[in-house]
């Protein structure tokens, strides 16, 4: 490990360490973790950095312990990071539900590995369902952000803290093992979000009435009201926090939808397909929840077909199909267990999709994409500030 990087030089950073340092620079007060591959370097980075800054580092007895310590620190007002990989994420499901219910902000970094069970330590996107649809019990969602490069991960860390604190919700930064383990040259854009005033945390009832941070309410009518408030919050998040990036979408006939490492593979495949005369483009969700449903629905009015590429047996593809609503064919290509699709595989899938689909024709000019054309990150985020990337324009939902 080397010392923290200066902020305006291009430097070589490992994903796990870059995410950890981004959290340090974002003003993270406390980190709780447990060793698990492929996220262990994140814990090790924090073990050195947090104490030297007089901040909190605890290696917990389990992932249950780690996330619950995070729940305690965050419920009493601290800016908290917890990290894990897939099997540990399962243990963290309990506290995620409690924090969603009691509206406690916290950032959880999940570096996905092959599953199910102990699985492998290779890269995977097999926890999409778990992160986006579930983790714990009850009716809730949490924002999930998925970087496709180490530079973008660095930018998403402070953004995730901001979203967590603005909406009082846990937030997940979801990356696969390649993004955790790989090294890339980046210009690290660190940022320290401003603190919101403490109006709810249990930090000692000095000069005010006591507070209770809790999710329990045994009166069904009260709990339903609380759930309605949570759902209203989820609609506000859905309206305001969708993030995605596009490439070559203006003339694309075939649209690949992919996130994280799969988007990197898709990008290479699209370049090769275009060399061969196949007009393909990329829609890369950055927020997996809320999902860029509207952008995909708009593309579905004129795209000849969609290809979803994942490091899974097909999870995000369900959300793409829900967005497309049968208006265009949606194909899927995925590898599992730590295997990664190759660009050649993806090009072959694009050609197959082309061969079995019909041109839409005609309506392209009348259904332009909403909003300005997206900025095109030269290396999927590393060189483009988050602020210049396009957020989906979504009409108020519900």
């Amino acid at each position: 490990m080397s010392d923290p990087m200066p902020t305006n030089e291009r430097v070589l950073m490992k994903g796990n360490e870059a995410i950890a340092e981004a959290a340090v620079q974002a003003g993270c007060d406390a980190y709780f973790g447990y060793p698990i591959t492929p996220q262990a370097e994140l814990l090790e980075w924090m073990a050195r950095r947090m104490p030297e800054l007089g901040r909190v580092f605890v290696q917990a007895e389990s992932e249950l312990g780690a996330i619950t310590m995070g729940l305690g620190a965050a419920s009493s007002g601290a800016r908290v990071l917890v990290s894990t990989s897939s099997p540990g994420f399962s243990l963290m499901a309990e506290a995620m539900s409690y924090m969603a219910g009691s509206e406690v902000p916290l950032l959880l970094v999940e570096i996905m590995r092959g599953g199910p069970g102990l699985g492998s330590i290779g890269p995977s996107q097999g926890d999409y369902f778990q992160a986006v649809k579930g983790h714990g019990h009850g009716d809730y969602n949490v924002p999930v952000f998925a970087p496709a490069s180490i530079g973008e991960a660095i930018e998403l860390v402070p953004h995730a803290f901001e979203v967590a604190e603005r909406y009082r919700t846990p937030v997940i930064l979801l990356a696969d093992g390649i993004l955790g383990q790989a090294m890339e040259p980046v210009v690290p854009r660190y940022r320290t979000p401003a603190r919101l005033p403490s109006t709810w945390a249990a930090d000692g009832a000095k000069g005010r009435e006591p507070r209770v941070v809790k999710s329990l309410d045994l009166h069904p009518e009260n709990l339903e009201r609380h759930n309605e408030d949570l759902q209203a919050k989820f609609r506000r998040i859905t309206a305001a926090e969708v993030m995605w990036a596009g490439e070559h979408l203006d003339d694309a006939e075939l649209v690949i939808v992919a996130y994280g490492t799969a988007a990197r593979v898709a990008r290479t495949a699209i370049a090769r397909a275009r060399e061969g005369g196949l007009r393909a483009g990329l829609l890369r969700p950055i927020s997996l929840w809320p999902f860029p449903t509207t952008a995909i629905a708009e593309l579905a009015t004129h795209a000849r077909g969609f290809l979803v590429v994942e490091l899974s047996a097909g999870q995000m593809v369900e959300d793409v199909r829900l967005a497309v609503e049968g208006r265009a064919p949606v194909a899927f290509h995925g590898r599992t267990g730590g295997m990664v699709p190759t660009p050649a595989d993806v090009v072959a899938e694009l050609r197959r999709l082309w061969s079995v689909t019909e041109p839409r024709g005609g309506d392209r000019a009348t259904t332009p994409m909403a909003g300005p054309p997206p900025g095109l990150p030269s290396d999927l985020g590393a060189d483009v500030p988050l602020a210049t990337r396009r957020n989906e324009l979504v009409e108020a939902v519900g």
Binding site: V58, E61, Y98, K214
Partner: protein
């Protein structure tokens, strides 16, 4: 004869809310809440206490003790308290747990918080049963004791032995204070208050983990009247002897003793 000036000798502690508790007649939680409220008042801790609520009947402790509370998932109060303690060095951090919470589902959390010597005070109310869910067997249930999940009495061959977890925790060097009291009469309650007071002093003096186990009743779960349950509580301390196990700040470490679980027996 002159009329003496009246003075208050007994009143509701300021930190104890005026509302009536939801606890059953004969339940010990109300007594324990009062002890905590009295000591929070006596030490002037109401504005810097952060308490962690358990799962079970006493989750509603936050309705009665007028301090900041955080609800913990079942068994996880010591982990929640660890997070709070580490980011609030100035706070007084208190956990409140029952025996199913602390000695079964939360075994890992209590052992490791104690092993780390977290400067928190654990209040452990042991009534030998899962009360809120309807009276099932707990790890602390006595041998031979009938519960809704040990209907013919706890059989060691099927369900193992009662867990003397406070003795186990007392072995750990991070535990500066561990004691066990009981609520069966006023004198015993007075001793419990002294133990809790000492546990508070240990934390306030910068010490490590402090724990007071309090043997308590569950008349409904035990299928007894409140009076019968309080009489029966004396029998519980045959398995779980009361007293101070360690007070390392005073150099006191009780010698480890052989654990002898005494089977549940009907009163003569």
């Amino acid at each position: 004869m002159t009329i003496q000036e009246r003075r208050v000798i007994y009143q509701r502690p300021v930190s104890l809310d005026e509302k009536s508790t939801h606890y059953c007649p004969g339940c010990g939680h109300g007594v324990v809440h009062r002890i905590l409220a009295e000591l929070i008042d006596e030490f002037g801790l109401a504005d810097r206490t952060i308490a962690i609520a358990p799962v079970g009947c006493s989750v509603f402790a936050y309705e009665y003790l007028r301090v900041d509370w955080i609800e913990a998932p079942h068994g996880r109060a010591p982990a929640v308290a660890t997070g709070v303690r580490r980011v609030h060095p100035e706070a007084f951090v208190l956990t409140y747990q029952g025996d199913g919470d602390l000695a079964a589902i939360g075994t890992a959390e209590i052992v490791h918080a104690a092993a780390r010597g977290e400067s928190i005070t654990g209040i452990f109310v042991n009534n030998g049963i899962y009360g809120m869910t309807g009276g099932q067997m707990a790890p602390t249930t006595l041998l031979g004791q009938r519960t809704t999940s040990s209907p013919t009495g706890r059989d060691a061959r099927l369900a193992g032995y009662p867990l003397p977890i406070t003795e186990m925790l007392a072995l750990l060097p991070g535990v500066d204070y561990a004691a066990r009291g009981t609520l069966h009469d006023a004198a015993a309650i007075g001793k419990v208050k002294a133990m809790v007071k000492r546990a508070f002093e240990v934390q306030l003096g910068g010490g490590g983990f402090s724990l007071v186990e309090i043997l308590s009743t569950c008349p409904v779960g035990w299928n007894m009247t409140p009076t019968e349950s309080i009489r029966h509580l004396e029998q519980v301390s045959e398995t779980y002897p009361v007293g101070v196990l360690v007070d390392r700040r005073k150099g006191l470490v009780a010698p480890p003793h052989e654990f002898h679980p005494v089977p549940w027996h009907e009163e003569a």
